[in-house]
């Protein structure tokens, strides 16, 4: 699926300032950026450059301090006004899938239950059909009844990816998705992301230190000291 010019995320002069006593830390310092539908964007930069904070802001997991953020034509934050928590939750359900470095699988639930976990909170049609499709695509269909502790790191991350995609999100956000994996498993995840972007048309935004993964993205955005380079 090719990238079109329809904007899915628009940010203007976005800032995130943390206050530690008298010190003000500008984690994200006035970034203006658009992400188009179907785009595959990688945020790169040194540690502390603000990549992860920016990703959290884009994913509506955190509130900016200043600026504006619009996602899928809905104003999430503008002029110090933020969407209420209920609407933010609905937005997350509808638009986003999240993949984290530490997987965050629930250890007491099986692979299948972990993948279907979002549907403990809301209903969606074809959940099982989608789960079957995803597990086959990600090569974990034979592991459905296993507990996370019985899986390898690569398998755990694939389960986390399946869980992130189970609600058919328009945007997949991934924070260091290969950070805990060896090079072989990293390559597998990289391939999966490319496939999801090209075949399923999912907009992917990821944060990585992994050059191979970053190079596989269509667009690389470099940050330093909270600003675009």
């Amino acid at each position: 699926m090719s990238v079109n010019n329809e904007k899915i995320i628009e940010i203007k002069d976005l800032k995130k300032i943390y206050v530690r006593g008298s010190e003000h830390i500008h984690a994200v310092d006035g970034i203006t950026l658009d992400v188009n539908k179907g785009e595959y964007v990688a945020f790169v930069g040194p540690s502390g450059s603000g990549k992860t904070t920016l990703l959290h802001l884009l994913g509506c997991l955190d509130n900016p301090t200043e600026g504006s953020l619009m996602v899928a034509d809905r104003m999430v934050y503008c002029e110090n006004k933020c969407m209420n928590e209920r609407d933010l939750t609905k937005l997350r359900r509808e638009l986003f899938g999240y993949v984290f470095q530490k997987f965050y699988l629930i250890p007491t639930l099986t692979v299948e239950e972990n993948i279907l976990l979002p549907f403990a909170f809301y209903q969606k049609e074809d959940a099982h059909k989608n789960a079957k499709h995803l597990t086959e695509m990600l090569g974990i269909a034979h592991r459905l009844s296993h507990l996370p502790k019985e899986l390898s790191g690569g398998e755990m991350q694939r389960v986390a990816v399946a869980r992130a995609l189970i609600n058919r999100p328009k945007i997949l956000l991934a924070d260091e998705p290969t950070g805990n994996l060896d090079s072989k498993r990293s390559a597998e995840i990289s391939g999966i992301f490319q496939q999801l972007n090209k075949e399923e048309g999912i907009t992917i935004i990821l944060v990585t230190h992994n050059h191979h993964l970053a190079e596989s993205a269509g667009k690389m955005v470099e940050l330093k000291d909270g600003k675009l380079v």
């Binding site: 939750t89 997350r92 530490k102 639930l109 239950e113 979002p118 403990a120 909170f121 959940a127």
Partner: protein
């Protein structure tokens, strides 16, 4: 598809020992609570049963201490005071009276009882009226006396066991040279009558030189009678003490009230300890799963979902603990009965701790309600977790 309830259940199994210990705490509290409620219910029923089994609503005794009179009414007593037999006719004269039965209690020292002798109590009764009032007394062997002055005895079940007597045997009345023939042995009734030796009232009067004397009169009045007014009327007779069923109940209830308050306080403390235990367990669990809960919120869990999830865990803990505690209290009811009996000033003859399904359900309901209250803080704490805080931190903080 995972459900909130299923997730809660699986989470409790994650730290099995901790969950088990919490359940044990709740079970012990439930045991105390069920036993207390069972005692409240059982004592009332048992006391009512004992009083109903008296067969009369009012007992007339010679004037004396009301507590002694109450004891006399239920258990027999010593230091007896006597009334003239003629008072029976005065009582009978009232049209409100349905039935009257005179009784003469006699307590004698029996040197052959036990190793160094003991006290034996006889109850002299009127064979014409007493059996009519005590309809629950059924014979294992034999029957009541033939004549009011017959030299015969009827043994209660336990008295017959103790004295090793059967129908046809002779029994030497202590402190006399008179022998009576055993003409009847009663079946076990679960009342004080089981330990009583019954003789005709005239026989007791004759043998123990108590001519024309009785210790009490059992009075059964018709249903329309205003008991309070009737009691007032009875006091017009000289030197009598009127003991009504209501008075007996009140007197005994007052004696037992202190014990009840004590047991209730213990139950309250046990419940409070269990509450703190539940809150601690669930709160620990929330803090340990800080990130998981945050991730759930990032996946679309509303505040209400997380609140419910944590509350379900509390419900499960208290429900299982409540069931275990109820079963425990049912199994240990006899032990609890003995324990309570040992501290009470007066215990009715039948079971003091009566536990039924309704009572157990009530106790489980109370325990679950308390569990739900103690689950509010941990659930609220979990529900207000913001995804970003959870993702950034490793553990939650209080």
């Amino acid at each position: 598809m995972p459900s909130l309830f299923g997730i809660a259940w699986k989470n409790l199994r994650r730290k099995r020992l901790r969950s088990m210990l919490t359940i044990v705490g709740i079970a012990l509290s439930t045991w105390v609570l069920v036993s207390l409620l069972g005692f409240n219910q059982g004592y009332e029923n048992s006391l009512n049963k004992d009083i109903d089994n008296l067969g009369f609503q009012v007992l007339l005794t010679a004037k004396g201490c009301p507590y002694e009179a109450a004891t006399l009414m239920l258990k027999g007593g010593t230091g007896l005071k006597y009334m003239p037999y003629s008072i029976v006719d005065s009582v009978k004269a009232n049209p409100q009276v349905e039935e009257v039965t005179p009784m003469l209690m006699q307590v004698v020292f029996d040197p052959n009882k036990g190793e160094s002798g003991g006290v034996t109590a006889f109850l002299g009764i009127d064979p014409a009226t007493y059996p009519k009032m005590k309809t629950y007394l059924i014979f294992e062997q034999g029957k009541w006396f033939d004549k009011p002055e017959a030299m015969e005895a009827v043994f209660g079940y336990e008295a017959a066991e103790l004295e090793q007597r059967e129908v046809g045997d002779l029994y030497l009345l202590p402190e006399s040279d008179v022998e009576v023939t055993v003409v009847g042995v009663l079946k076990r009734s679960g009342t004080q009558d089981d330990g009583t030796i019954f003789l005709p009232v005239r026989t007791v009067q004759n043998v123990y030189k108590l001519e024309n004397k009785i210790t009490s009169i059992g009075i059964k009045v018709n249903k329309e009678t205003d008991l309070a007014a009737y009691e007032e009327e009875l006091y017009k007779l000289s030197d009598v003490q009127v003991v009504s069923m209501a008075q007996v109940k009140m007197t005994i209830s007052n004696l037992v009230a202190t014990a009840r308050v004590m047991v209730m306080s213990i139950a309250l403390i046990a419940i409070l300890i269990a509450m703190v235990g539940v809150m601690n367990t669930v709160l620990m669990s929330v803090l340990e799963r800080w990130q998981e809960i945050g991730i759930m919120k990032s996946m679309g869990a509303m505040t209400s979902h997380i609140f419910k999830l944590i509350w379900f865990e509390t419900i499960l803990l208290t429900f299982v603990g409540g069931i275990v505690g109820s079963v425990m209290s049912w199994i240990l009811a006899t032990v609890t009965d003995k324990l309570i009996r040992s501290v009470l000033p007066y215990s009715p003859t039948s079971a003091l701790v009566q536990i039924d399904v309704l009572l157990a359900l009530k106790a489980i309901g109370i325990i679950m309600a308390i569990g739900l209250i103690s689950g509010i803080y941990p659930a609220w704490k979990a529900a207000k977790i913001r995804p970003i805080e959870a993702i950034r931190s490793t553990d939650g903080e209080l």
